[in-house]
Each structure stands twice: as C-alpha cells, then as structure tokens.
Symmetry: D2
Subunit: 397 residues, 4 copies
C-alpha cells in the first residue's frame, strides 16, 4: 500500500536516518570480542563516547536498547524502598517513573502539563522539605521526546544545590545526546542515560550510563539486585577495552564511525545545525496556524517538534496519508496525546534540503487530509534558511 519508490524519510524523533558509512561499519564482519583488534576498538569507543557526554569520567556501554540504561541507572544507585523524585514532563518521564515503581523504588512524581520542561523550582521546594534526606535521587528527562520540550538541567542541578540536598541527579538524554548541548560533568550530573538511535545516528541496540564518582560510590551501597546492568564488572574490564560479557560488536563498529563523524563536524556545529532545523520547522508550523505542543519557547526542543491538530482531526490519519503518499514516517502522539499530536523528528544526519523536503511532505499531507491550515509554511521555512548562512558553511574544508 505504501509507495516504496525513492528514499524513505524516517522523520520520527528516533531512530533517525542512519548515515551509510555507519551502516557500512555495522555490516563489517563480526570480530573476536576477546582479541587484540577488539581491544583497540573497545578503547576507542569507550574513550570517544566520553567526549559526546562531555565528561572525563567513565561511560558504560550496554549491548541493550535505551530502556535498559534507564533500569541500569536505577538499580546501580538505589536500594529497595529508596525514594526518588521525578517530574512528569510527558510520556517518557511517565514510563521511567513506572519502571522505578516496578523495581521497588518509591518514585514520587511531580505533576506536569506535558507542555513544558522540568520546573526546577518545584524540585527545589520538594527537596527543601525533605530534611531527612529520604530522597536519594532526582531523575529527570532532558529532552522529552513525546512533547518536544527540553529541560534546563543546569537549573535542576542548582535547585538541588540550593536545597543543600545530597540526592543524586539522574538524567535521560536519549533524544538529546548528540543533538542538543549537554554537559554531564559541568552540570554535575551523576548518571546520564543515553541511547544509540537518535543523535548518535546508529540503529537502536546500544545504550549508555555516564557516571560520576558520587554515582560509583552510591553503587557500592545500592542494594537493588543486579547483574547484567552492574557497573562494577564493566568498569574493571573496560580498562583494557573489553567487556564482561559479549558486547554488541557490530554496533560498536558503527559507534566508532558515529563518534568520528560528530567530531569531524564539530559538536557545536552539530548543535547549531539542529537549532536551525528546529527554528525553520517552528516558523513553518506557526505559519500554518497549528499549535506546537511545547508552550514555552525557551524549552523548544531542537531535536523534534510535536504539533497539535485542531479538534476533530486525526493525527494518525495524517501520518498514514503522508506515509503512503510521500514515503515519510512521522512520530505518533503517545499516551493522552495519541491521535492529537504528530511529531516531526529533525535530528541526526539532517540538512536544509531535508528540512524543507520534510515540511513540504507535511504541508501536502495537511492539504490532502483537509486539515485547516494556512498554506505557505514551506516558503516561510525557506526564507528563514536562505537568509541564514549555515553555521557550517564558513568552515572551508
């Protein structure tokens, strides 16, 4: 039913369009994960990934998709019955909250509106109340993939510090890592959770825990049962570039190329490129007269934009039409946003022409589906993009 001619535009907010050199690296033959060639690869990626998290400390690489790294962050740092403070930014914060509860953690959830990021003041207030320091960790989502709202993690750090509270800070960066500026060390994060299939431009299957000394110390006392996710064995054997059990060799081959590509472009250029695509997208959406799910401009996400349809129109119908006509996948609304919202991923291996191509697909879809909008959005995006020299354009080769 779907038209398969030409390139598929995978514009969900991750997995993203994997660059061909990364796919080629993944398709190289599997090597002996206990041999000298692997040791070299292992050290390379274990060192390289630190630069992406902006940390000088260790990053654990799991042969498991992102949800696993959420679990790892919790089971390595907490004990049964420990209290954790979380913030309801949207669907993914909610899922992480549910996971914590299933693992036997007392997970408090500060209510949110799914249209903005973490309220650091609310965090501070709650921590200030907690004189007994029963809260062992604050766990928040940097970029809420269900709503397109990015939270200010430095502010959350300050909130904890202002409250004089010893809680660990755990942050999910699955849909921001490698797309939106993030600083594990500078912002004093204890565990940063990441995944391979978004800004890192890999297929899903790898996930990460960047960890602070304080987190390592907490792990020594944490009593939640753990084995596969345990940091200790990893940290020991990672020193030589190896892993305690079979790693996802071929994805690591791809990770090595991904890190190299991000460095070649320069992380700051990568972030500027995402900001630019996001701004073009929002100007287009505003012109159409559609509402952006995230209500606070300072929290607009640079990796995706969630767009609300007027009452009575089906976002899933629109997505299906666009998939069939234009060979483009858009993200669906999650939880309470189902069928009300569609999400445009503008992250990963992406450039100006893809921005306007994607937006033209959406505009044609709106028209075909009879969804009220003001036409001309793509032109607004083009005006913006053609009036703003690329950050990277100056960088002569």
């Amino acid at each position: 039913m779907t038209n398969r001619t030409g390139r598929h535009f995978l514009q969900i907010p991750g997995p993203t369009n994997t660059p061909l050199p990364i796919l080629a690296a993944i398709a190289k033959p599997t090597i002996d994960h206990r041999g000298p060639e692997f040791a070299k690869l292992g050290l390379e990626v274990l060192t390289g990934i630190r630069t992406i998290f902006k940390t000088s400390g260790p990053v654990i690489i799991y042969p498991a998709s992102g949800t696993g790294a959420w679990e790892a962050a919790l089971v390595n740092t907490l004990s049964p019955g420990d209290r954790v403070l979380m913030f309801e930014t949207g669907w993914f914060a909610t899922l992480w909250n549910k996971m914590a509860k299933r693992l036997g953690i007392e997970a408090e959830f500060i209510k949110g509106d799914w249209r903005s990021g973490v309220n650091a003041d609310a965090i501070e207030a709650r921590l200030a109340e907690d004189k007994a320091h029963t809260i062992k960790a604050v766990a928040v989502v940097h970029n809420e993939t269900s709503t397109g709202a990015t939270s200010n993690i430095a502010a959350v750090r300050r909130a904890i510090d202002n409250a004089g509270h010893p809680a660990l800070l755990l942050v999910d960066t699955i849909s921001s890592l490698g797309s939106i500026d993030y600083r594990h060390e500078e912002w004093g994060v204890d565990v940063t959770v990441g995944g391979s299939q978004k800004g890192l431009m890999l297929p899903p299957g790898l996930s990460f825990n960047a960890i602070s000394d304080k987190a390592v110390a907490a792990a020594k006392k944490a009593k939640l049962p753990r084995s596969f996710w345990d940091w200790e064995d990893m940290l020991a054997i990672n020193e030589k570039g190896f892993f305690p059990y079979t790693p996802s060799t071929n994805l690591l081959q791809g990770l090595s190329v991904a890190i190299q590509m991000l460095h070649e472009e320069g992380l700051d250029n990568v972030f500027a490129r995402h900001d630019r695509a996001a701004e073009a997208t929002r100007r287009c959406v505003h012109h159409w007269g559609l509402e952006i799910q995230c209500q606070n401009p300072q929290e607009y996400s640079s990796s995706l934009t969630a767009v609300r349809l007027p009452e009575g129109y089906s976002a899933d119908g629109l997505r299906a039409e666009i998939l069939t006509r234009c060979n483009m996948s858009l993200g669906n609304g999650l939880g309470p946003l189902a069928d009300r919202v569609f999400r445009i991923g503008h992250l990963g291996d992406f450039h100006d022409l893809m921005v306007t191509g994607v937006l033209s697909g959406v505009e044609m879809g709106l028209r075909v589906c009879g969804i009220p909008h003001q036409s001309g959005g793509v032109e607004v995006a083009m005006n913006y993009l053609s009036g703003n020299a690329r950050a990277t354009a100056q960088a002569a080769e």
Copy 2:
C-alpha cells in the same frame, strides 16, 4: 567545503540516486562468470532487459558505459564511408555525430536549435531526396539530456516509411530508458542504445544494444572493424547465459534487482511517476519566471528539465552554491549552454517528497544567489502534487 551532513541529492540527469537494494546486490561477492550460478543470472538479465526495451528480440549487454554502446550501434551496422543521417537535438546528438565521423562514417547532421526534438519532416524530406539510398541509417537521440527535449520516435519511423527508404533506425535512449515510454519493437527501431545509470537506477558501467532482425542482417555485411563490440559472438554465447569475454558481473547482479524493481512498480506506473515529477517541476519553474530550455511543450522531457538563467547570471555559480549549502548536485549546461543553463534530473528512484525537496533547494539557491525570480514555486509544485493522487497510490499492495 561542501556540507556533507545528511543525504546527498544527486539530481543530475544521470547517474541517478541508486536504490540501496541495487547497491547491495552490486556489493555481493563476484561469482564465476563461467559457472552454473552465473548462467542463471545471465539468462535472467538477458531475458528481463528485453521487457524494458519492449522487444522480443535480443539485447546485447556490454561491460562498458553508454558511449560504448553508441559505438557498437555504428560499427555493427555500417561500413567505412557509409552515409548516416543525424539530427542536432543538442550536445549528445552532436557527440554521437562526431563519433560517427571519427569512425569513418559520412555523418550528415540536420541543424537543430537545441530547444526542441527531432523534426521528423526534415528527416522525411532528406530521405525522399536520397533516391539512390546512399543513406544507410538514421540515428537520433530519443531524450536529449542536454536540453530536456524528447523526440517522437514513432514519427521518425513513419518519416522513414513515408519516404520508402530502407535506412536503419538507430536510437539513443540512454536518458529515457526506464523513465519515459519507449517501444523498440512497436516503433520499428533497428538498434536502440541504452545505459545503466539513468532510469535503470544502476551506477554507470553497463550499456545496451537492442537489435532488430534487420540490424542483425546488416551486421553480416557491415565492414567497420570491430571485435569487442561485435554482436555475433555475443548472440551465440548469450543463448546459454554466458558472455564471450568477462562481463561486469557485479553490475549484472544489480541489473537483475533493477529489472525486478521496475516490474514490481509496473512500467506504466514508472512512466506516470516521471511525468508527474516533471510536470511539478515545470510548474514551479514557470512560477519562478524562468525559461525552460525546451520550447515545445509536447517535447518536454519527463526525466529532466533544463532551466535557463537570465542574462548575466551564472548557472554554475548557482549550482556551486546549492552543492555547498544543500548537498545537492544539479546538472551543468553543456557546450554552448555552459553556465547559461542548469539541469534538474527528476528520474530514477524518486518520489513526491524528493521533487519538492529538490525544488526547495533550487528556490533557496536562487534567493541566496540573488537571481531574479518570483518566490512561491515550491508551493505551486505542492499544490499540483497534492491535488493529483499518485498513479501508484491506487495500486494496493
């Protein structure tokens, strides 16, 4: 200097964007070209390619790029000093004419304006004059890649017949095969020249001669020296799926997939898809207020559109800017059209979103380069595309 993020848009009028399944087939290990597995592949592609040329007769496959098949068409059918009638549709007709002369053929060239296709009446008139039948062949280009003008081959056939002339009809379909309707057998063509890197969606490296019985008979008397291009050895050993010398095995692996893809879509759907992309492109160009090189709407090419810039503006400058900013390659002006014309290839593995993406890249380029145009062309293209259901959309899977 060029921004390499994201996908490259290869929008020259061939080579085209090779689909990944074809690239994957080409990357399979080379097999023994004298073994049973190859025999199967050989028969498959030798049979399959006939359907693309719409002929029940043989198609020779050369392990050489398209220019070689031009030479093959001439040396297999003609003798030194033979007279050939050609028509100056543009750069490629001119090159073929020069080639004929270098090979020792008396190649007459009916003057053209590089803005239209073959004038069949002129052909008929010249043949009618040739009472002695000194003209042994008429050789024309079906789709002139330098100008975007498609000639009426059925009309050329009628012209020859009306003149009661026995000349062979040789036709170059390098940039139309698999993109624009073409009927080797029905139109009574004697030798059709094709290449792999356009509508067949392969990389360059294979070329074709579809041949009629009359052409085979002519080859028996033709005296131009030939060995590599000789049909005779090919025809004999092709019967078993083999080739007289080492074929381009890996490209044949890709050809098998390409033929299969064209059949899956259906040739008529393929042609309709190209017509649609071409129409959207032309509406956009007209809206911009730019001139299309081809002046006769009935001869507009469905595989490319050549666009003229106003006096004083550099087409090559525009192309360079678009390459740098948008990671898109457009075709250059050839011969007298150098720097005056740029060419948009809209052929091969291509869909609506790529059409609007490509056009948005051109519109942004025009703006950045300060080339006078009326903005809004992309919107015009979107209106056309979203108002016209895809020919293929009805075909439920």
Copy 3:
C-alpha cells in the same frame, strides 16, 4: 602485527562468521518500529523463531546480548530467596550460578568436572531429597561453550519427572541453538535461553526466552524486581508484531534472513552438517595425539571442540601465532582452563572446506610453535569428509 590479507577465519565458538546476506540485511536502513512495515517484520521473526526453538509457544526477543536472557529467565520466574539447582558443567554454568546469587537467589551448584555434561542422576537424587519442594527451578546449560560438552536435556526432564518434582526447567542453549538438535516443547523445558551470535549466525545483540505455559504462570507470582526483562508487556504487544520499548530493529532484519536460511537448508541438515564438521575435527585432534576436553564421547559437542595442550605448552601462545600467521581466531581457555585449552568453533555458516582449512591452520600452528603432535591430522579429516557424502549433497535443488 596481524596479517590482514584474505578472509579472517572467526573460529571462536561464537560469534560466528556472519553470512553476507545477513550482514546486508542488518545494513538496511532502520525503519519506524511503530509503523506497518515493522509490524510485518515483527510478526515474521516472532513466529519464525519458534520453529528454531521447536516450540508452539511464545519466544521473547530482547534487544540485548545473551547474558541478559539468562537474567530474564531468572527474574521472571523466581522470587528473592528462592532455591535453584544448577550443575557445574564449566565456565558458563558457573557464571550463571554467580548471576543467580547476585540476584538474591539461593543457587545450589552440583559440582562437576568441566569435562562432561550434566549428571541427570545427580539432579534426580537431589530433587528426590527435596520433599518440601523448596527448589523452584533446575537451571542447566545445554552446550557448555567452555568445554565442548553437550548435556542430555531430555534426561534432565526425566530426572525431574522421576523425582515427581514441580521445579521449572531452565536451559541455556546459547551455543547450541541452530547447531545441535534442541526441542523446547518436546523436552518439556520451561524457559530456554538463546542468543543471536552462534548457530543463528547473527552478530551479538539479540537474545531469547522461549517460555512454557508453566513459566508464564510462574511469572505471575515471581517477585524479583523486573522491568526491562519483564515478559508480560512483551507478550501483550508482541501479538501485533510490536515491542514495548525500542527493539534492535536492524538485528531483527538480519534475524529474518537467518531464520529463512536455516529453513532453506532444513534444520536436520544443519544439525547433520555440524555433526560432520565436529567428527572430522575430533578425528584430526585424536590423530595429532592431543586430548579433547570433553571426556564422554556421547557428550561431544557438535558446535565446538576444546583441545588440551600437553603440560608446559601455552594455548594462548598457539592462538596468537595462528592469529598472526593465518588470520584465524580460535577460542581461549576460560577460568581454570586458561592457557591450557584452545577451542575450535565449527558452527554456524560453515562447510567442509572451512573445516579442513581451519584444521590445517591449527596443524601449521602446532608445528611452528613446536607443540608435540603427530602430523597428518588434516589428512585424516579429509579422509573422513571425502568418504562421507554430505547429508545435503543428495538434496538436489
């Protein structure tokens, strides 16, 4: 230092030499894991994988390497403090035992000699003693990858039944699945643990739990905390071909091809091919006068052969020499067998010529390293192989 010319022979007992069509499938672009194309893929692999485990019941597919599926088998069926009976067949049985303890399980370990399989009588005796049924599960390794001994799982099943004991039966088939006959349903196994990187011929990164109704029932009462590994969410959403969190899309693309390849060859032919490679290897090793780690011929593994070196010779030195000279990786000795044993993997995508090639590399290595042996082992293997028509040779295409 290592010679990189020519093909690498990855002859560790997994990961194995991934066939190129599987690598090509993995290198296809990532698709939307919530879209219709994925649903088709998901149903295909979820259904297909059952045939490999020989079960009509569900098989859970984790986006995680094999060790994760060990953990999943335990946390889904057991509660803190539950007693499990395990058998020390070698390194991997020991690791699984350690994992169980770390997860808070009382894991009994029947001592073994690392040179044979599971002693079913010992299992039966221990269960018979356990009148109170405090033992909740028996967990054994089907093919112990560290020693090359395959256990009789049907006998373990009978042992449990003879003891009239309700314990669940958990079996690790990571290095036997798709290489050695295994029957989840017929043998009454409750949870079978599998991995992608051995007989399934994929890179590492996927793992499996085939589960019985009894296991599903047990999961409802099991109290070990779990979220990522939880079967319940998986079972529900798998019905539509989807997963509760991001699956390892690209490896699933490869899995689909792997299952197809195993079916094309026929599982019985696959097993016969492994038996044959193993027998040729053992005849060669015996001729060399070297000792096979597994002492019981009825338990010889068809997927690998662990070979002991005479006292005073370094197995790791031999492996390093072979890697450098012959571009072949062999498995190392694990735990107490370190440097005493090397392991020849003869599983996965493997044929006669690779058997003799591999053995010739080992024989050359023995000679170069001055390790005492009787030369002529490869010839013995060739005699065996050339005297025994392939099981598959009869099967005309």
Copy 4:
C-alpha cells in the same frame, strides 16, 4: 544442487575474492562524475594506478572489462594492414591474435606449445629478418592465464633491442598485475594492458592502458578508426581528474581502496605472498603425482597453477564435484585444454589458510572422483608453509 553454506571459495584465476572493504566502497552511492568530489577521486586513482604499473607516465582507465583494453592497445597504435608479431603462449594469446585480425591487422603468430612462455629468441630472430621494419608492434601476454606460464618481458624487450627494431612492445598483464612483479617503465613497454578483476581484487569492469611516450607518438599516426578507446581525449581531460564520457564511478571508488590496500601491504610483500602460495600449490600437485601444465619451472606463474589430469579423467567432472561438495570454483581448461586441465587461482586477497583450504578441497575432490593421486599433498603444502615465515610476518604493525 550446489551447497551454499559457508563462504564460496572463488579460486578461478580471476575474478578473485574481492575484499569486503572494496565491495563496500563500490556500494557507496554514485557521485556526480563532473563535480568536485569526483575530481579528487579521479586524480587519486589516475595517479595511484601508475605505481601499480610501475610507470611515471599516464595510465588510461576504461569503463570496460579487460578485453576492451586489448582492443584499445591495438587501435590506438596501429593502422589497417599493419603487421604485428604475436606469440602463441595459450588461449588468451590466441584470442588477442584473433582480435587483431578482426580489426584489420596482419597478425603474425609464432607457434607455441601452450606449456611455456614467450620465446624471446624467436621474437628476436623474426625481427632481425624484418629489415624493412614492416612489423609495427610485438604483442605478448605476460602471464598466460590458460596455462599458468609467465613470460620474461625484460627478455622480450632485449630481443627487440638486439634486433635494432623500432616495433612497439604491447603486453597483456591482465592476470599478473598486482600479483607478479611487473615494470612498465623499466622494461620499456609501450602499452601495458591491465584489468581490474585479478590482482587488483576488484570485480570486472575496469581496464587499463599504461602508455609510453613512444606509444603516444604512434597514436598520432595510427589510422584504425577509434572513438570510445581513443587515448587523446582521455589524456587531455584526465589532467583534471575527469573523463571524456561517463566513467564507471563506483568501480573507481573501489579502485581507490584497492590501490591503498596494495600500498599498505607493500607491492614486494604482495608478490612474495603470491610466490609463496604458488610454491605451496606446486609442491602439493607434485606430491599428488599430477602434471603441471607449464613445463618450465622458471616460467611457473605465481597467480595460478594449471594442473593436467591423467588421460581418461574429466577435469570438468572434478570441478563440478568440488563446486557441489566444497562450494569452491576452480578454473576450467580452455580451447584444446578443455576438460583436460583445471586451474587453481591463488591470487588476490589470499593467505596461507586459504592455500591449504583450497588444496584440501582439491585433494578431497580427487579422492571422491577416483582420480589416481598420492594422498598427502596438503600436508606437503603445510610443511612448506609452516617452515617458511611469511614475508609479511616481520612487518610489525
């Protein structure tokens, strides 16, 4: 019928087993052959290929398989009726001779026995007779792929010089280039013909003419009609890295990697590796008691060994059996050697383990087919290989 499990061993004397990095390079998207990225690639391969031919002069690269470069060597240097002196080393020398005749050249053919290389004395004697210098060129095959005999090109050069004769020297190195030492410039060769699918480890589809100044000068007077093969246009536009017509872009991408791989190993190491594989093969064949087609040990080819079967046994039957049982392709006997000879290619991307693997496949085939031979040949090869440290082993990384 053929067993497809495991890796195919493509042991015909070309095409050879293409290394995966080269296949990966070929599978990269096609680029604009008139754009800046191509210019870089073009210059890189046009410069790099000179080092493989050992020349400081130009090398023409054709988008055509090797037979085309034979034709190019002739039509660029000769005029209709010119006399050429050739030597019947075997099937390929015979084909080249036939080609010359078809192109209108008077091609003399010194009779050979198909079991040795070129007799330089015979060349000298014939040239000495030719006082009028009617012979315009001497054309010989460096490595006769049908027999496995390598000719002494330096001796042919001396023969011409000794005769004081101005004839051009044309040499076919299709199956020796990149495998056996060859020196276009030092040996005073005027046109060297090469192909991509042997020592260069690429699929077929590219071919080469390395040309001397004298050859360039001859081309200016040569009158054979030519266009596709014409050097002149090539030489002019190659200066900027471009080609006069569409090149075989994707194979050029592979060529760049191939040249890099040969340089990384070092050409002398490459040649030594081939010598070593050839010597191991011959020792094995001698032990079997089979006869090698090439009778002169000084002319044994390092890229292939042609083996004669005793009267009454079918070489093609043996090859078919080996293909079915062992998934290995061997070369067939050509022309009068059909079914009498099989050819083992031991060239390209090849190492010790592949040598012994290949020989074990042949030895098993001989046994299964009941062809009289002394078993133990593989062991003889292993003894040789394990007693001789690899030339490359010393080269620490």
